[in-house]
């Protein structure tokens, strides 16, 4: 993403803020605006921006009215359109920026029915870096594309990488995007706000239903989708894998070793759904990528070898692929 595009994204995100905070956001020097990854608003506490290891204190106490105004703008005064997302604690604005929400949850029949009385939120600025996945994509496609999981901590750039990989893959394969959170393509009136190449996009809807719809209607070779969280989603993915379709998805985790801690992913790993794992690590705002590919363990690896790095997950061996 060049400086102009980064500034444009900064401006569209800041444009959602109420006037006082919007003016405060523009107190950041133009050359630093591209570094900002999110705005933090907490009622009764200062307004911050953060990114690349930097923190900017931009204004004094955020008021409840300002938070409500931000929500009105992000929902385009249409709570009914975004209610399903609000229930899940976030909503995606028309430019693809994600607003994470904290407030009081109303429960009904054991499930969160609605969120209200919002106390804080973070506005994550959507970024697009075209071409960042080229090397990783080439390595994943050496023997044809196989299902790939992108693992990173929050703010690690999973969606950005997934979007670019989907865009690149769509040049040679039929790729569909199941964009439940509307972050990958951020479609508005059917038009993606990001460059997603030749991908077909199904926005909103639950993954398990959308996967079936896409398989039935679009004959995809690859389906890109955001994080698999529940066992229902995992089961849907396994069922869809029998059709020969490959997947590209993401997971919130510090590293690949944490995969085995999650029941849904243990099931997926045992089924051998993923052949590649891309691990993104963040160090002082710098991202580094590590590709692990499933394969058999060799003798010298069993006894240990300084140059060898890999890990065993649910009985499957993943070897680090050299860049």
């Amino acid at each position: 993403m060049n400086c102009n595009e980064a500034n444009k994204q900064f401006m569209t995100a800041a444009g959602l803020l109420p006037e006082r905070l919007w003016r405060a956001a523009f107190s950041i020097a133009p050359e630093q605006r591209g570094l900002v990854e999110e705005f933090r608003l907490r009622v009764g506490r200062p307004f911050y921006a953060a990114g690349a290891g930097l923190h900017f204190r931009l204004a004094d106490c955020v008021t409840k009215d300002e938070l409500d105004e931000l929500l009105q703008r992000a929902t385009r005064s249409s709570v009914h359109t975004y209610l399903e997302q609000i229930r899940q604690g976030f909503l995606t604005s028309v430019s693809g920026h994600r607003l994470g929400l904290c407030g009081e949850a109303s429960a009904q029949q054991g499930a969160v029915f609605n969120l209200h009385s919002f106390s804080s939120c973070n506005l994550r600025i959507a970024r697009q870096f075209i071409g960042i996945s080229e090397d990783l994509r080439a390595r994943c496609c050496r023997q044809g594309f196989e299902s790939t999981l992108i693992v990173a901590p929050p703010g690690g750039g999973k969606t950005t990488l997934l979007r670019d990989m989907a865009r690149g893959l769509s040049q040679s394969l039929t790729v569909c995007i199941a964009d439940e959170r509307m972050e990958i393509a951020a479609c508005r009136d059917g038009e993606p706000q990001f460059d997603i190449g030749l991908c077909d996009v199904m926005s909103g809807g639950q993954k398990r239903e959308v996967l079936t719809m896409l398989l039935r209607s679009m004959s995809p070779q690859v389906i890109a989708l955001d994080e698999i969280t529940g066992e229902d989603d995992a089961r849907a993915l396994i069922a869809a894998s029998y059709t020969g379709c490959r997947f590209l998805t993401t997971l919130h985790a510090r590293n690949a070793a944490e995969l085995a801690l999650r029941p849904a992913y243990r099931t997926l790993l045992k089924q051998g759904i993923f052949r590649h794992i891309i691990e993104i690590t963040l160090d002082n705002g710098q991202r580094s990528y590590r590709l692990l590919t499933e394969g058999e363990m060799k003798d010298d690896q069993t006894v240990g070898n300084d140059s060898y790095r890999g890990l065993m997950l649910c009985g499957r061996f993943f070897h680090e692929q050299p860049a």
Binding site: S77, V79, H80, L83
Partner: protein, 164 residues
């Protein structure tokens, strides 16, 4: 003499025209509210996408009012309720009664604030009030319209004759 008769007739015709304007405005807002309800319930469309539809499909008072609202939302970043509050002064030009203006404005405190089912329920209440108001306005226009015209013309002639 002609001037006196003419001006009295104009007053009569003008009062008749106000009644017709009110009927047309209520019809327009009734259609707009029905469309709003349908879009919210069946398509979950956001309000900035519904308003251009209303402007296109419901010509007259509703189109004019919601055009101003949409302008305030898109150009000035106002929320729907704030934009409706600011544009409400425009409603006085359509010969509507005060309570009818209040019902129309109350749409802004419902639309976009709740889940679709709640909005549908509350908008149904407004729709039935608007329907009733429209029937009353039509009856009034039917009964009083001709009367105002006749009284205007007759009064004009009478005053003119009296002046002579």
């Amino acid at each position: 003499m002609i001037l006196i008769a003419g001006s009295c007739s104009v007053v009569g015709f003008s009062m008749n025209s106000q009644l017709k304007t009110r009927v047309a405005a209520l019809k327009s807002f009734l259609g707009a509210t029905q469309l709003l309800q349908a879009e919210i319930v069946f398509r979950r469309s956001p309000l900035p996408d519904i308003l251009p539809l209303i402007i296109r499909e419901c010509p007259g008072a509703a189109a004019s009012f919601y055009r101003t609202v949409l302008h305030m939302m898109t150009e000035k970043g106002c929320s729907f309720s704030l934009a409706c509050d600011r544009a409400s002064s425009e409603l006085r030009h359509f010969s509507l009664k005060r309570d009818e203006i209040e019902w129309i404005c109350s749409v802004s405190h419902i639309a976009g604030r709740y889940d679709a089912a709640t909005q549908a329920d509350r908008l149904s209440g407004i729709l039935s009030r608007l329907e009733l108001a429209l029937r009353q306005a039509q009856d009034e226009a039917g009964q009083k319209g001709k009367l105002y015209r006749a009284v205007g013309v007759t009064a004009g002639i009478m005053i003119a004759l009296a002046a002579v």
